[in-house]
């Protein structure tokens, strides 16, 4: 088996999906968008009911409408390619195999909101994609898909540049991302003000997930109604899921929203699954009795990370791995997150050693709920999720383990 991951940008694996992986040719969305008015593009997006694919699920049409309406000399559109959520790799696949979707979506965004510059914030871990992506942008410039008077559209100038992150999970949070782009520590800002009016360099900025921009390209070409055909009423379209862990066929899958967890497990060949962590370390752990729930904003909302654990896995070890991650990645700016995560990890270690009281564990769950309320950004607000959900859903396994034992295993 080849161990070295080599990049041939734009070369596609055999992938099937109703929306993202459907037919598309480079430049199609740009060509179509430039023949439309900005308002019409916004109406198409509104019809599509597309929500942000990073996980928060804010309506893309609203975000772009607000940024478009903001009055400023300069505006920016940022592609958030800082996917650091454990178990997520769909953006890597999109950038490697479908760069045309992402970049075309950015150009469309630039046109719609009136931005002159698009910035791709690429996570440092994906440095091997930097050169190929830059070469790709150069090709786009040659084809007049970037630069001055794009495709002959008088007065529409747009450029894209790529900035490399440097290994900070918190920079996936949009204001932290903007802080680091401005040359500061990547510490989240207070919101409001939101980036839509006070973003990069204090200008109106739209920050969009890689997958959101890819979806925009399809919507512009094929229409908002076409997109909304897929999925559920409240979660339109499809979603890319990054599947890893105990299954036969890990990888990226495109499925319509509303798919049941059990259907996904069947598809990827996950036998004996006892738990699925959905949404990465900051997501929720779903036990077997809940496998009939659906993946959708109204049921289990997610950025697409799906990690599968079979009967033999020690869920306390899983939880410990997640809490170590958060202790590592908390930026340390606000107290609930900086100290709270350390306390939760200590709690996990106490259980591991069999040296705990339920009174203390319950206090820690309370602390987790306090963190969800009091932390400044999404990191601290969601880091107690695995602590609370794993201890709740797997209490029999975890608390019957005895002193340092592994459940008799």
């Amino acid at each position: 088996m080849e161990n070295h991951l080599t990049v041939k940008l734009g070369e596609k694996k055999d992938r099937k999906g109703p929306v993202i992986f459907s037919e598309y040719k480079r430049g199609d969305a740009i060509r179509k968008a430039l023949s439309m008015s900005r308002e019409d593009i916004l109406f198409e997006l509104k019809d599509s009911k597309l929500k942000g694919r990073g996980g928060a699920g804010f309506l893309t049409s609203t975000k772009w409408m607000l940024t478009a309406a903001a009055k400023a000399e300069k505006k920016f559109i940022i592609c958030n390619a800082d996917e650091g959520e454990p178990g997520t790799f769909k953006d890597r696949v999109l950038l490697m195999e479908y760069p045309e979707l992402v970049f075309d979506g950015m150009v469309v965004g630039g046109y719609t909101i009136g931005a002159q510059l698009g910035i791709v914030y690429l996570r440092g871990e994906y440095e091997y994609l930097l050169k190929p992506l830059e070469d790709y942008l150069e090709e786009m410039r040659k084809g007049n898909l970037l630069g001055k008077n794009i495709l002959g559209k008088e007065g529409f100038d747009f450029e894209i540049k790529i900035v490399l992150g440097s290994g900070a999970y918190v920079c996936g949070e949009e204001t932290a991302l903007i802080e680091s782009l401005e040359g500061h520590r990547g510490e989240p800002r207070n919101r409001p003000p939101y980036p839509i009016n006070t973003g990069f360099l204090g200008r109106p900025t739209s920050v969009n997930n890689v997958e959101t921009l890819a979806a925009v390209s399809h919507i512009v070409v094929k229409g908002g109604k076409w997109f909304a055909k897929y999925g559920t009423d409240k979660s339109s379209g499809s979603k890319l899921f990054s599947v890893s862990g105990d299954c036969e066929r890990p990888g990226v899958y495109e499925l319509p929203w509303g798919t049941k967890v059990s259907e996904l497990l069947e598809l990827v060949g996950a036998k004996n699954a006892k738990a699925v962590q959905i949404g990465g370390a900051s997501g929720h752990c779903i036990p077997k009795p809940q496998f009939e729930k659906t993946l959708a904003y109204e049921d289990i909302p997610t950025g697409g990370s799906v990690m599968i654990f079979n009967d033999n896995r020690d869920m306390l070890k899983v939880l410990k791995n997640f809490m170590e991650f958060f202790v590592d990645e908390s930026c340390g700016q606000c107290t609930p997150c900086r100290i709270g995560n350390v306390k939760l990890l200590e709690g996990v270690e106490m259980i591991e050693k069999g040296n705990y009281t339920f009174a203390h564990i319950n206090k820690l769950k309370d602390l987790g709920r306090t963190m969800q309320l009091a932390s400044k950004c999404g990191l601290g607000q969601s880091s107690p999720n695995p602590f609370i959900s794993i201890l709740e859903n797997f209490k029999d396994e975890i608390f019957n383990r005895g002193n340092g034992g592994r459940n008799g295993r």
Partner: protein
């Protein structure tokens, strides 16, 4: 540091500033270039960056100290990062790490005596479907076995 070395480094940093601009928003890319070439950002380099961007050196230091991939102390010539997230862990990360530690005679977080390798853990490398995974400098390697991992390190110059 010799004067000629200092001059060379200054010139190098000036070329980055020319490429990315002398605005503070160029800082991250400039630091990235210095880090990549010298495997750390020395005090002198920090001062030069600060001078050219017209900010205080401590501002540069504060940004470096924030990011996991930027550092002020030199590391080995080759940086090996092994993904420690649960998906890679379940596929046998531990055995890979132990093999590397045995082979190089160091523990995670240390640098070999000949300064050839620094081995570290990294958080999710985004290669969860192909774990265990590791990065050697800016290249990534997947589907590792203990034997394969060691073999790959042996090929590094």
């Amino acid at each position: 540091m010799l004067v000629v070395e200092k001059n060379a480094l200054s010139e190098e940093i000036e070329s980055y500033v020319e490429k990315y601009g002398n605005d503070r928003s160029a800082l991250l890319m400039i630091l990235h270039e210095i880090q990549k070439k010298h495997r750390h950002i020395s005090e002198f380099a920090q001062q030069e960056v600060a001078r050219l961007l017209n900010i205080h050196p401590v501002e540069v230091y504060s940004v470096i100290s924030f990011f996991a991939f930027l550092n002020t102390n030199p590391k080995g010539r080759n940086l090996v990062r092994i993904c420690q997230t649960i998906s890679c862990d379940m596929k046998g990360k531990k055995q890979v790490v132990e093999a590397i530690e045995r082979e190089l005679g160091i523990k995670i977080g240390e640098t070999t005596k000949d300064n050839k390798f620094t081995v570290e853990y990294a958080n999710c490398l985004g290669l969860c479907d192909m774990g265990p995974a590791m990065a050697i400098n800016d290249q990534v390697f997947v589907n590792l076995t203990p034997e394969k991992a060691v073999e790959l390190l042996a090929k590094v110059k």
